[in-house]
């Protein structure tokens, strides 16, 4: 009833171009922002933050990054884990080399370092496409993990080969390290999510985004109407890697605190983020959020149902989780290749006419 565009006339092209053209959507968006920024930090608990909110926020950034590259620009990447590792190790090196540097700058610089590495590994995309590119990025994944394992300079010659985040404060409160409180960590991650999601949305609605999508949908036609494929693909790699690097940096410094590269940034991580965008919806900002939420929630949900309610052993529930995720991937690829975002769109489409569909 209230979900209507009738009567909501747009009198300028900028009004027609806005992200949430329907008033109800706009208000819902402001409400979500309010809850995220004000309500949650006041009520947050350790359990909710560590098992759901922090991983959700951090993976949203990675999913946005991969979605720009794969969903918008059509370049399949299996190197997400490796690029997250670059972000994490860059953060570690920056934190230890420049202890006075604030965490926002450290995180942004780590993203920039990852962007440069991403562009390097994106160069093959100018020659190869599809599966072959996926394999090339897979090489990046294994090479980067190997590099961080084998070159002691990256982990400051520590005996364990691990990296761990020292304590750093902003405005007098600890952001990283064991003394950081969850609401601080939460707000720190939320800040990056909001800013990066806004940037992702802006880039994908303008000329840059259209060039990416043109390359994705038909690269030859794109080149003939004036898209420079070199520039377009490499900017997609750069932006995507920046996002993924920031995500890796936050995962290490804020969430995990200490990291062993093969464990935290292995090939499973690449697939996890890829599943997020497939289930959430390729080429959709909302899809990145939905996919990350889904993949973070699912194990928690299954654990609550399986272990707590039904009393099954934990390892069986863990195996069931693998089966369920695999099944869902197949389901989505067959039934709804555009993912949760498309389902959401369909619901909205129906709502516009509800309850009189004619």
């Amino acid at each position: 009833m209230f979900y209507r565009e009738a009567g909501d006339f747009k009198t300028s092209y900028s009004a027609d171009n806005q992200t949430f053209p329907i008033a109800f959507d706009r208000w819902r968006y402001y409400l979500v922002l309010f809850v995220a920024i004000v309500v949650i930090p006041l009520t947050i608990s350790d359990y909710w933050a560590n098992s759901l909110l922090l991983p959700f926020l951090i993976y949203v950034i990675a999913a946005l990054g991969l979605n720009i590259l794969t969903g918008y620009c059509g370049q399949v990447s299996l190197g997400t884990g490796g690029f997250m590792a670059v972000g994490a190790y860059a953060t570690y090196k920056l934190m230890t080399a420049f202890p006075w540097m604030d965490m926002v700058s450290v995180t942004i610089l780590s993203g920039l370092v990852t962007a440069i590495v991403g562009v390097l590994f994106g160069l093959p995309s100018l020659r190869i496409k599809g599966f072959y590119l996926a394999v090339a990025t897979l090489a990046a994944q294994f090479f980067l993990v190997w590099l961080f394992n084998r070159v002691p300079w990256f982990y400051n010659y520590s005996a364990s080969g691990q990296i761990s985040a020292p304590e750093r404060s902003m405005f007098g409160v600890a952001v990283t390290g064991p003394n950081a409180e969850v609401w601080v960590k939460y707000l720190f991650c939320l800040f990056f999510v909001i800013v990066l999601a806004w940037i992702a949305r802006n880039l994908t609605r303008g000329s840059v985004g259209r060039q990416w999508m043109a390359i994705r949908d038909m690269d030859i036609a794109a080149e003939i109407i004036g898209v420079n494929p070199l520039k377009s693909k490499l900017t997609a790699f750069a932006i995507s890697s920046f996002f993924v690097g920031v995500s890796g940096a936050l995962l290490f410094s804020v969430y995990l605190g200490a990291v062993e590269v093969g464990e935290a940034f292995g090939i499973q991580k690449s697939f996890l983020v890829l599943f997020m965008i497939i289930i959430g919806g390729l080429g959709s900002i909302f899809g990145s959020f939905a996919g990350a939420a889904f993949m973070v929630l699912l194990p928690v949900l299954l654990k609550i149902i399986g272990v707590d309610l039904l009393g099954w052993p934990t390892d069986i529930v863990a195996h069931i989780q693998l089966i369920v995720v695999g099944g869902l991937i197949v389901f989505f690829l067959i039934v709804e290749p555009h993912g949760l975002a498309q389902l959401w769109r369909l619901v909205k489409e129906k709502l516009r006419l509800w309850p009189f569909p004619h």
Binding site: S12, S207, M213, I220, I224, I225, G226, P229
Partner: protein, 273 residues
């Protein structure tokens, strides 16, 4: 075969044919051992509608691909606006003001009609990456200004009702029209149309012919087109190049070409005895 002397002039319907805009000089294009285009020269004048016709496999599409920079001829020179074209990527050719449509529709299927058309404006947009990332000032102003141009073309081609529809959902005839819109919105000086009427019914062909004439008339766009429908070609174009087996066998006004013995032979076949 002699070519009639062709000077800048005003046509009977009041359009101005100007100086030479594009000149192909002795173009030869080979794919391995196959010679697709054999030593062909012709010119395109400002403001005219130039057709390239010929039987299947004559090399018409290859010729269009040479003009749009997609194929690089092994021999010969391409002159555009008085300058010889150097080694150039297709997107650089597009930036010189040459736009085209494709024989098999090459729209961006995952994008809406409006986004497809706006993509055609990209050579007119210069907001930096950073501007676009924060979507403040220049990026938004530029988007709105270009949207106005896009809407002009949408009105012109009468596709207002589908502007927010994903292209994948459109029927064939409309897709062809959207593709024309995407090329037109770039405000090209030279518009290349590769079989704009292929696979259309009579009504759609009439619509498309009207649009092509209107484009030429209202925007003064020079048009080079490939088409199989003889009636359409003869009605639309000012001059016609006829190709057969990669060679030029005729060049001139529709009437001259129609009465050219070589052209008649190529189309109807000759008895070999």
């Amino acid at each position: 075969m002699t070519m009639m002397h062709y000077e800048p002039h005003v046509t009977s319907d009041g359009r101005t044919i100007g100086n030479t805009m594009m000149e192909m000089k002795n173009i030869t294009l080979r794919f391995g051992g196959v010679v697709a285009i054999k030593d062909i020269s012709f010119d395109i004048r400002e403001g005219e509608i130039r057709a390239i016709i010929g039987p299947n496999g004559a090399g018409k599409s290859s010729m269009l691909n040479v003009i749009s920079g997609f194929y690089k001829p092994q021999e010969g020179e391409v002159w555009y606006l008085g300058e010889k074209r150097g080694p150039m990527r297709p997107f650089e050719v597009a930036r010189q003001g040459i736009a085209r449509t494709f024989q098999n529709i090459a729209l961006f299927e995952g994008m809406t009609v409006l986004d497809n058309i706006m993509t055609g404006r990209l050579n007119h947009m210069s907001a930096s990456f950073l501007d676009q990332a924060i979507w403040w000032g220049k990026a938004e102003r530029e988007e709105v200004a270009n949207r106005e141009k896009a809407e002009e073309i949408i009105d012109f081609l009468e596709i207002q009702a589908i502007r927010k529809t994903p292209v994948g959902r459109l029927p064939y005839g409309l897709k062809k029209r959207v593709e024309l819109a995407r090329a037109l919105v770039a405000e090209p000086s030279l518009l290349l149309l590769d079989e704009p009427m292929a696979g259309m019914n009579v009504e759609e062909k009439e619509d498309m012919s009207r649009f092509i004439l209107d484009v030429n008339d209202e925007f003064g766009t020079t048009i080079a087109l490939i088409e199989h429908d003889m009636g359409v070609v003869m009605d639309l174009s000012d001059r016609v190049v006829v190709m057969d087996y990669g060679k030029k066998i005729g060049d001139g006004t529709p009437d001259e070409v129609r009465n050219n013995q070589e052209v008649i032979d190529a189309y109807l076949g000759v008895a070999h005895d």
